[in-house]
């Protein structure tokens, strides 16, 4: 459950943004649409606690993350938020499965390796678990990135332009996967995008 109120953000020497209030219950899916420069990525980074807002509150499961200190925020992010970036990135020197297991290790939220393998299997990339990320195709990398964001059952899944680089068929598949995984784990899913193709897929939308 995520609840955002009165959120504003001012870049030190740049644009300022005022965001609409957002509420997204467990299992609910929210699409945030907006053109470039409307602050989509800024919003996503605010929700993830990667930057701190100028004003406003962000409550995730009754914790206002704007009130947490640095260390607590890092841990909270690792335990409660799963993030999927526009392009998938990994720690190159370790295998796919180790990349996934990095998440519970760093956040301290114990999650067995079997669950990571299960999710990789659901996304049809279990056979790549032992390989280095660089040896995977872009599509496989994206699936692994989704698996990494969801397998530890976060409260909120945030996705930044997950489809903008993909063709129609692949875009649909990725959204299917995201929705399916969010449903499986009972998480709130928030997708920010300028991709109009997703407009008809989601009932709940806001536009910046």
């Amino acid at each position: 459950m995520i609840d955002v109120r009165g959120l504003t953000f001012q870049y030190p020497s740049g644009p300022g943004f005022t965001f609409p209030d957002i509420a997204c219950a467990p299992g609910e899916h929210l699409l945030v649409l907006g053109q470039s420069g409307k602050g989509k990525t800024t919003l996503l980074h605010l929700l993830a606690g990667m930057i701190r807002p100028t004003a406003g509150s962000i409550r995730i499961q009754n914790t206002d993350i704007t009130q947490l200190d640095n260390r607590a925020l890092d841990k909270f992010r690792g335990q409660h938020i799963g993030i999927i970036f526009q392009t998938a990135h990994f720690v190159d020197s370790i295998s796919v499965i180790d990349n996934l297991m990095l998440s519970p290790f760093l956040s301290g939220k114990k999650t067995p390796q079997s669950e990571a393998l299960q999710v990789l299997d659901r996304l049809n990339v279990a056979h790549k678990a032992g390989q280095k990320p660089a040896s995977l195709s872009v599509g496989e990398q994206q699936r692994c990135a989704i698996a990494r964001a969801v397998f530890h059952k976060p409260t909120v899944i945030l996705a930044d332009e997950p489809t903008s680089a993909l063709d129609d068929k692949n875009a649909e598949q990725v959204i299917d996967m995201l929705e399916e995984q969010a449903r499986q784990t009972g998480a709130a899913l928030i997708i920010v995008t300028h991709d109009k193709r997703l407009k008809d897929r989601f009932q709940k939308q806001i536009t910046l």
């Binding site: 990525t41 980074h45 993830a48 990667m50 930057i51 640095n70 260390r71 890092d74 841990k75 992010r77 690792g78 335990q79 938020i81 993030i83 970036f85 392009t87 990135h89 990994f90 720690v91 190159d92 020197s93 370790i94 180790d98 297991m101 990095l102 998440s103 519970p104 290790f105 760093l106 956040s107 301290g108 939220k109 990494r148």
Partner: protein, 406 residues
């Protein structure tokens, strides 16, 4: 999954990035540790061989050479001295003990030294087998001699003229046959590499009655007994100030008294200077390796900014990233340290092999010394310093910006 595994994977992932650092560091450490080993072992070995010998009485010449030849047996002696002359000195009440040495032959490059039981007793030698020589041409051999030549109790051999050469012409060979009557247990002293026999043996080998020396002497001199000669006496003093007094007595003779403490410290100073120079070079190499480690860690941190930011989004704290980078630095230097220590051992073994060939002097203690543990501390400090700035930079990574611009 643990942080050490990630650090190690990062080092392994791009080995070329860190190869230069490790090579430089391990060479620096290898050289320093080898110098430490050399210095301790050689001075230990020297001390063991000096063992309470205060002076060397030998023919005039370089006192340093006199010490090297007669105590360590690594140089040729300065000449011979007459027993009748030497007696004046060694009978002096200031002399507590005088060990006679008369030599000039070798067997398979091991010196055959004419002496008496005082010599092995001085080094606390015990017999592993057989007995101590008592009659001429009986020999008791050192442990290394027995091992290298394969001589056994009751074995016989003939000697070759010279100190450590294998004579090529047949003339240099003597015909008298030596018999092994005893083998010393290892004493880690110079005795291990010597063949001991009564002084009379050396005299008898070198008496050539048919040679014109005797004839040339004027007929009125009584030389029913030929003038006996000795190579040197190793002297232990009875009281302080003996050197000046005894030395004065040698002034008008062909003899000279070498002060072992003085000569040895001169030798160690020269030797130490050589070691210090090499050590200084090694320190420079270590400084370069420090810079190299710093650069490679710094570059690797910049290349991996995205990875580090990513780890923050997965719950890693700033402290986690700091630890990760520091740990990589420490892992690198620890690797360099281990390789360096192995290198120094390998170097020492090679050096020891050559020293054994030319001097019968081996260096065989390969254990890690306390000084090397101190070197480990220094090495870890280098790693810590080299990784501090990159780790500090990792602390300050702006994850939002880094991930947006990736």
């Amino acid at each position: 999954m643990n942080l050490l595994k990630i650090s190690w994977s990062n080092i392994k992932h791009k080995p070329l990035n860190t190869l230069l650092s490790i090579v430089l560091l391990s060479f620096g450490i290898g050289i320093i540790s080898m110098m430490l080993l050399l210095k301790t072992q050689i001075s230990e070995k020297f001390d063991r061989n000096i063992k309470d010998i205060d002076f060397v009485l030998a023919a005039k010449g370089s006192p340093l050479q006199s010490m090297l030849a007669n105590i360590y047996h690594v140089d040729v002696p300065t000449g011979n001295i007459k027993v009748s002359e030497a007696r004046r000195i060694i009978k002096n009440p200031m002399v507590a003990e005088a060990i006679p040495l008369a030599y000039g032959d070798n067997y398979e490059k091991f010196r055959i030294v004419g002496t008496n039981e005082k010599y092995p007793n001085h080094y606390g030698c015990t017999l592993a087998d057989g007995k101590l020589f008592s009659a001429p041409f009986e020999v008791t051999i050192g442990a290394d001699v027995a091992r290298e030549t394969g001589l056994k109790l009751g074995g016989t051999f003939t000697s070759v003229h010279g100190y450590d050469n294998a004579a090529e012409d047949a003339d240099a060979h003597h015909h008298q046959v030596f018999t092994v009557v005893g083998i010393f247990a290892r004493s880690n002293s110079v005795i291990d590499n010597l063949i001991l026999t009564p002084v009379e043996t050396t005299w008898m080998v070198h008496e050539h009655p048919e040679e014109p020396i005797a004839d040339s002497l004027s007929s009125d001199t009584t030389h029913a007994e030929p003038e006996r000669e000795m190579t040197a006496y190793l002297i232990k003093k009875r009281n302080k100030g003996a050197f000046g007094m005894l030395s004065k007595q040698t002034e008008d003779t062909t003899m000279q008294l070498a002060n072992v403490a003085v000569e040895n410290s001169r030798l160690m100073n020269n030797f130490g200077l050589g070691l210090s120079t090499i050590t200084a070079i090694a320190v420079v190499i270590m400084v370069i390796s420090f810079i190299s480690i710093f650069i490679s860690l710094f570059n690797s941190m910049r290349e991996r900014r995205y990875e580090l930011a990513l780890m923050r989004t997965m719950g890693g704290t700033r402290a986690t990233l700091f630890t990760l980078i520091i740990q990589e630095g420490l892992l690198l230097v620890a690797l360099g340290y281990v390789i360096g220590l192995l290198l120094s051992r390998a170097g020492l073994l090679v050096l020891s092999h050559f020293m054994k060939e030319s001097f019968h002097y081996g260096l065989d203690n390969l254990a890690v010394s306390a000084q090397e543990l101190a070197l480990l501390g220094l090495t870890l400090l280098v790693g810590l310093l080299a990784s501090a700035i990159p780790a500090w930079q990792a602390l300050k990574i702006d994850i939002s910006k880094t991930l947006t611009n990736a």
